[in-house]
């Protein structure tokens, strides 16, 4: 399959919709055929129709929505707590050198210890209830939001601050009208990465310790050999993860449109 001509950039074609769907389509046909002819045992991979039916059931019944709702609630709860704390911490670190020197080294060390390392200790002290999930998900958002906010604020050009001083801005005006807008791209990158991490952590926590939610559906489906439930839950997790990221990307484009106009 090695074409002698490396596809140079000028030959770059946008994958057309039809072509992009070819491989998944072929896989689906192979899956369907294999299931129909009994080549693939339903224990390994249930027929696509059954996964489809389960997926529709999850998405159309109240009990299915309850599981999805619980997962979303956990993610947003943890994300709001973690991102809120991260914004405050990041602002403090970005604005004050003393705070930065005081907290940054410890924060870096704590940030590079994976969440998974904390998990057993937290389980001992917090049990496996809702608190544990919120703490872990909040921590997943806290680290990227703090670091990116601190960097964004600290990197605002001095000249911009001086202009604000010339205009006699109050500290609050300086923050709201100069520092935050200038640091927004960096802060937003932190928020976006934080939300993605939250979703990743949610799945892990629900797999390990939950009696409801999408992760629980997966581990339960795997234990009870209900592969259709497992696969349907995986599809929903993937779709929501993708959707959340695209949503933040769209908001980012909207929020930062003034920047683009400046260079138009």
């Amino acid at each position: 399959m090695l074409s002698p001509a490396i596809a140079p950039l000028r030959l770059k074609v946008m994958p057309s919709g039809a072509l992009a769907w070819l491989v998944p389509g072929l896989l689906l046909v192979a899956w369907w055929t294999g299931s129909a002819l009994g080549w693939i045992s339903s224990q390994t991979l249930p027929p696509p129709a059954r996964v489809g039916v389960t997926l529709v059931q999850l998405l159309t019944t109240a009990s299915g929505w309850a599981q999805i709702g619980i997962s979303l609630q956990r993610v947003f709860g943890g994300f709001v707590i973690g991102a809120g704390l991260g914004l405050v911490l990041g602002l403090a670190m970005g604005l004050s050198r003393v705070v930065r020197e005081l907290l940054y080294p410890s924060f870096r060390v704590l940030a590079s210890i994976p969440l998974l390392g904390w998990l057993p200790l937290l389980m001992l002290f917090l049990g496996i209830g809702e608190t544990l999930k919120l703490v872990l998900i909040a921590k997943a958002a806290l680290v990227p939001v703090t670091l990116n906010t601190a960097r964004g604020i600290a990197e605002v050009p001095r000249s911009q601050r001086e202009v604000a001083q010339l205009y006699g801005f109050s500290p609050l005006q300086l923050l709201l009208r100069v520092l935050l807008p200038a640091a927004l791209p960096s802060i937003w990158a932190g928020l976006r990465y934080g939300l993605t991490s939250c979703w990743l952590v949610l799945v892990l926590v629900e797999l390990l310790a939950a009696s409801e939610g999408l992760g629980y559906l997966m581990s339960n489906g795997q234990q009870l050999m209900q592969m259709d439930v497992l696969l349907a839950a995986v599809i929903i997790v993937g779709a929501i993860g993708y959707g959340l990221d695209r949503l933040l990307e769209a908001i980012e484009r909207h929020l930062l449109r003034w920047r683009r106009e400046a260079f138009a």
């Binding site: 020197e101 795997q222 997790v237």
Partner: protein, 252 residues
């Protein structure tokens, strides 16, 4: 680093340690879950002397390196093939992008269902965690090779293999490396995750789960220290490698 910065940076950990020791003199120490720093050190020394610490660490690291090796190799090969073939890229890239969106740990039950509850599943999962970042970054690296470089290669009448080895790979290398660096970190997280979810066999994760099941806080803290040490070492190594790499690029 000024002296002031070092002193300030040391304040939180010292305060934390003091608070931990002070807790030992309050009613909190009566809880069966409470351990003092001394007890943790004692547990650390004991499990090191019994060889338990080393057995768990070596089992985890062996698993990590095996999965990492497989994932990086397959990711590199797939990235090169896809990057070099336009047909393959147009056909497969959308599918891969969708697969990548699936939260890493969502693969675990699937891998368990398909590969069982033993060592194979752990290795497959770690390899999967390493595979995606290498694939994506290799693909980007190959696609970013400047046309002019390829044309020079053609003027010299390079064979396909020479073109790959002398032009494409060196040019794509920085991007490939950043994929490998990500894989180093992801595979380590996947190692821990796999050991938590598949509790059979030895490893640092199993040590932690065992300590948690038996309410042995000292063992859990020892495990946490071990995880922290390896994670910090890994992050430090990646930072150093990255710095080294960019230095090489600057001199180039």
């Amino acid at each position: 680093m000024s002296a002031r910065a070092i002193v300030l940076g040391l304040v939180p950990p010292v305060l934390g340690l003091v608070a931990w020791i002070a807790l030992g003199n309050t009613s909190a120490a009566a809880s069966p879950l409470f351990v003092s720093p001394g007890q943790v050190l004692h547990a650390l020394a004991a499990s090191a002397a019994e060889g338990q610490l080393w057995a768990a660490t070596s089992a985890s690291l062996l698993r990590y390196l095996t999965g990492l090796g497989i994932g990086v190799a397959v990711g590199l090969a797939a990235g090169l093939l896809l990057g070099l073939s336009r047909v393959g890229r147009v056909l497969l890239q959308p599918t891969l992008r969708v697969l990548q969106q699936i939260s890493l740990f969502a693969w675990v039950p699937l891998v368990m269902a398909w590969f069982g509850l033993e060592e194979t599943s752990k290795i497959v999962f770690i390899a999967l965690a390493a595979f995606f970042p290498v694939l994506v970054n290799t693909l980007e690296g190959v696609r970013g090779v400047p046309v002019s470089l390829v044309e020079v290669g053609r003027i010299y009448a390079f064979s396909r293999l020479q073109l790959l080895w002398r032009v494409i790979l060196p040019s794509a290398l920085p991007s490939v490396f950043s994929g490998v660096f990500l894989a180093l970190i992801y595979a380590w997280l996947a190692t821990l995750g796999a050991e938590y979810l598949l509790t059979q066999g030895q490893g640092i994760g199993s040590l932690l789960v065992e300590g948690q099941d038996q309410y042995r806080t000292d063992q859990v803290v020892v495990g946490l220290l071990l995880v922290s040490a390896i994670s910090l070492l890994l992050n430090w190594a990646v930072d150093r490698l990255q710095a080294h790499l960019t230095r090489w690029r600057v001199t180039a």
